[in-house]
């Protein structure tokens, strides 16, 4: 059986998150110290070699992303994506609430690698109590001179899921409507205030101190070779234990739901799991033996995403849940591009019609065509991913849709 393995949460519940002294005692800031003895290019090469891939959803090689920042850039920024808007996800909150200094140390390591003097943490507006903790942690680190000439400022989001998209996030820090930019240019070249900018997820940063300290080989040997390390998962829905756990990326969905989650609540049977948050695909029983690493999940038409694991038991109504998810995207679309602004709205209307038993087969066909176009035509990942729950439930749970149709 797969065991929990803690890298990111290594200090969780062992130290007082409000006391930097505890963190120091647990080996804190030694990774940063070691990183600062390396040249920028060596540090980037080490991170690249560890094959740490972004934990915010897109799984881009972290070191590779850093290497896009021009070495002669006079100004560059390090931005931590702590928007965590994906429903069912609270892992970044857990990481920060249990060990905020790990994040700060990871950001400072990145700051050294890309020669940045200024970091920003973009924290969702719904976490004001975490912002307080972060500001305390930053004050402590600054007070001890640990950050050196690298400074970190916390900025708050305003209740817009799309601001988790890195360019929308940058727009939001700049004080604008959180509408994604077209790419290229990528943030590594022209990001915050048009300067080179690295955007990484909380969990990505929190992995860095251990990787630098223990070496890239150590990290690369943990979990799945293509997506090494661990993943912090949040179990929600109808599992017996609704917990957050950190497991090597070789763990399978079945292990996660049954071994860590304690199986389905109240002895009921499993029906479906949606991994990666509300924009993830639905997965039926037959695919539960898939490991959670990014590529394996993609292989079954799902995504690892944020690592949210939303479990539904046999009594759950897939069409109703998918309708609810369609409303989420209708509410969160930024409205910039046509296929998403109009598409999420109409998809929700069609789902409501199906859910209310008023639809005919043609409606499902229209929904399918719309979904297929949105996946390829939308400007950003929100609109591209919005159809995933619809298309995967149509694929794996079609009889539930069919049962809702009006007989003609």
């Amino acid at each position: 059986m797969t065991e929990e393995k803690r890298i990111v949460l290594r200090n969780a519940d062992l130290i007082n998150p409000k006391k930097i002294e505890d963190y120091m005692q647990a080996g804190g800031y030694q990774g940063l110290e070691k990183a600062r003895l390396m040249s920028r290019s060596d540090l980037i090469a080490e991170i690249k070699k560890s094959n740490l891939r972004g934990r915010g959803g897109a799984a881009f090689n972290c070191g590779l992303k850093w290497s896009f920042v021009p070495t002669d850039a006079p100004v560059s920024y390090v931005v931590c994506n702590f928007d965590e808007g994906e429903p069912g996800t609270y892992k970044d909150r857990i990481i920060v609430q249990k060990d905020p200094q790990s994040l700060l140390e990871g950001m400072a390591i990145c700051g050294h690698a890309v020669n940045s003097k200024q970091g920003y943490i973009y924290c969702r507006g719904e976490y004001p109590y975490v912002v307080e903790l972060l500001n305390l942690a930053i004050d402590q680190a600054r007070g001890k001179g640990l950050l050196g000439d690298f400074d970190i400022e916390v900025r708050m989001g305003g209740g817009a899921y799309v601001c988790g998209e890195e360019t929308a996030l940058i727009e939001s820090i700049e004080g604008h409507r959180g509408e994604p930019r077209f790419k290229p240019p990528f943030p590594g070249v022209a990001g915050l205030w048009a300067q080179p900018t690295v955007v990484n997820n909380v969990e990505t940063f929190a992995n860095l101190p251990s990787i630098v300290l223990n070496g890239p080989e150590w990290f690369a040997a943990i979990g799945a070779p293509n997506y090494p390390g661990t993943k912090v998962l949040t179990l929600t829905g109808d599992v017996a234990n609704r917990v957050s756990i950190e497991v090597p990326t070789t763990a399978t969905l079945r292990e996660i739901i049954y071994d860590f989650g304690g199986g389905i609540k109240e002895g009921k049977k499993f029906k479906a799991v949606q991994v990666g948050g509300t924009s993830g695909g639905f997965i039926p029983e037959s695919l539960l033996d898939t490991p959670i690493d990014f590529d394996s999940m993609r292989g079954i038409g799902a995504t690892l995403g944020t690592g949210a694991v939303f479990v539904m038991d046999e009594t759950r109504d897939i069409v109703d849940i998918t309708t609810r998810i369609a409303k989420f995207f209708e509410h969160e679309s930024c409205g910039k591009c046509n296929p998403c602004r109009e598409g999420t709205f109409r998809a929700y209307e069609i789902m409501k019609k199906i859910n209310n038993g008023k639809a005919v087969a043609q409606d499902i066909e229209n929904l399918t065509i719309l979904s297929q176009v949105m996946e390829k035509a939308c400007l950003c990942g929100l609109g591209q991913a919005a159809p995933a729950p619809i298309l995967t439930t149509l694929k794996h749970f079609y009889p539930e849709y069919q049962a809702r149709l009006q007989i003609h």
Binding site: A160, R177, F182, P184, E330, H331, E332, S333, C334, G335, K336, C337, N338, P339, R341, E342, G343, T344, F345, R346, Y348, E349, I350, K352, K353, D363, N366, I369, L370, V373, K376, A377, C378, L379, Q384
Partner: protein, 354 residues
């Protein structure tokens, strides 16, 4: 130079071009709604999508760089299907009344619906957009039930006029072009320059002054220079049955070298005096305290004769010429030349100096 393949044909384009530009240079038509060559790029309407071999997502050609060796399809079945869906989605919220719409015949949205055969939308589910259309200003009709949210108006207001009167409010399907607190233009920083009307690809923004006077395809477009001030903006008079029924913008650098189509409220909306019965249409000569109509020859002969008499009797420096900022540079040049060479005096001045 960059070499790429578009629709099976190898084409070349200067480095730094977008795929859209490469297509335009090579005569390959691409539909665009949010793209405007004079405005910041948006990449948001997604009409200009193309397929690039090996890339899983469609690319908006207006914001995607042309790269060496890429293979582009501009009208593949997938692209056509996507454009149709986009047009149908826009149609589902659009208040079609082309029969009375000021934009009929000059409307990009209508053109593309025709081109892609959008007879009806498959996506009419839920409520239609229903915005009020009463902005009580004398110049601009705003009907956001015809708006396709291309934001060209917002960008034009900011980047051409710098009035920044309008922006996008709310988000998602509720996003709408609005002033602060969604009020009337007159209560905002709007200058009624009409640049927003100029760039709007649909009938969402139209001129109230021209309403009902003629279709785009019924009018002759006559270029002239605005007579309100000395800037010398080019106007495009819309002439129907020998009457001016509107002013539009010629946005080319050659047709409109001074202003590239941008105008102010006077030039764009203040042309109804042209057809006023109070206008002088012939010279008038005053005799015995009464004006009478005269021909140009008679009038000019009279003026020349009287100026000559004054010059002989009192000398050239007894006369002065004063010119106006409301005529063009060229006319001002001619006036000073006339003063110096014909009247023989340096007594010439201009209202802009005062």
């Amino acid at each position: 130079m960059i070499t790429l393949t578009i629709n099976g044909k190898e084409v070349h384009t200067p480095k730094g071009s977008t795929i859209l530009e490469a297509c335009q240079q090579n005569g390959i038509p691409i539909p665009t709604l949010c793209y405007d060559p004079d405005l910041r790029l948006a990449g948001s309407c997604r009409m200009c999508l193309v397929e690039i071999k090996g890339r899983p997502l469609y690319a908006a050609s207006c914001v995607t760089p042309a790269e060496n060796g890429i293979v582009v399809e501009t009208e593949s079945p997938g692209i056509v299907a996507a454009r149709k869906v986009i047009l149908e989605l826009l149609s589902a919220r659009h208040k079609f009344n082309c029969q009375v719409c000021e934009k009929n015949g000059d409307c990009k949205f209508q053109d593309y619906c025709y081109q892609y055969g959008i007879k009806e939308s498959r996506f009419i589910y839920g409520e239609a957009t229903n915005y009020g259309i009463n902005d009580p200003n004398p110049f601009i009709e705003r009907d956001y039930n015809k708006c396709i949210m291309c934001t060209r108006c917002v960008r034009a207001c900011e980047e051409i006029t710098a009035a920044r009167a309008i922006n996008v409010e709310n988000r998602g399907h509720h996003a709408k072009i609005s002033t602060a607190f969604d009020g009337n233009l007159a209560d905002s920083s709007c200058l009624f320059c009409g640049q927003c009307v100029m760039v709007c690809p649909t009938g969402a923004l139209t001129s109230k002054v021209s309403a009902g006077l003629g279709r785009a395809y019924e009018v002759d477009k006559v270029l002239t220079t605005c007579s309100y001030c000395g800037t010398g903006c080019t106007l495009e008079l819309n002439v129907k049955n020998n009457r001016v029924v509107g002013v539009t913008s010629n946005r080319t650098a050659t047709g409109s070298p001074v202003n590239k189509g941008a105008l102010c409220v006077k030039g764009r909306f203040g042309w109804d005096f042209i057809n006023s019965p109070d206008r002088l249409t012939t010279p008038l000569i005053k005799e015995n305290g009464q004006f009478r109509e005269a021909g140009w020859d008679e009038a000019l002969d009279l003026v020349a004769k009287r100026l000559g008499e004054v010059k002989n009797e009192f000398g050239p420096d007894s006369m002065a010429v004063f010119t106006s900022a409301r005529v063009t540079n060229e006319e001002n040049y001619v006036a000073q030349k006339f003063t110096r060479a014909v009247l023989g005096t340096n007594n010439v001045d201009h209202c802009a100096r005062l």
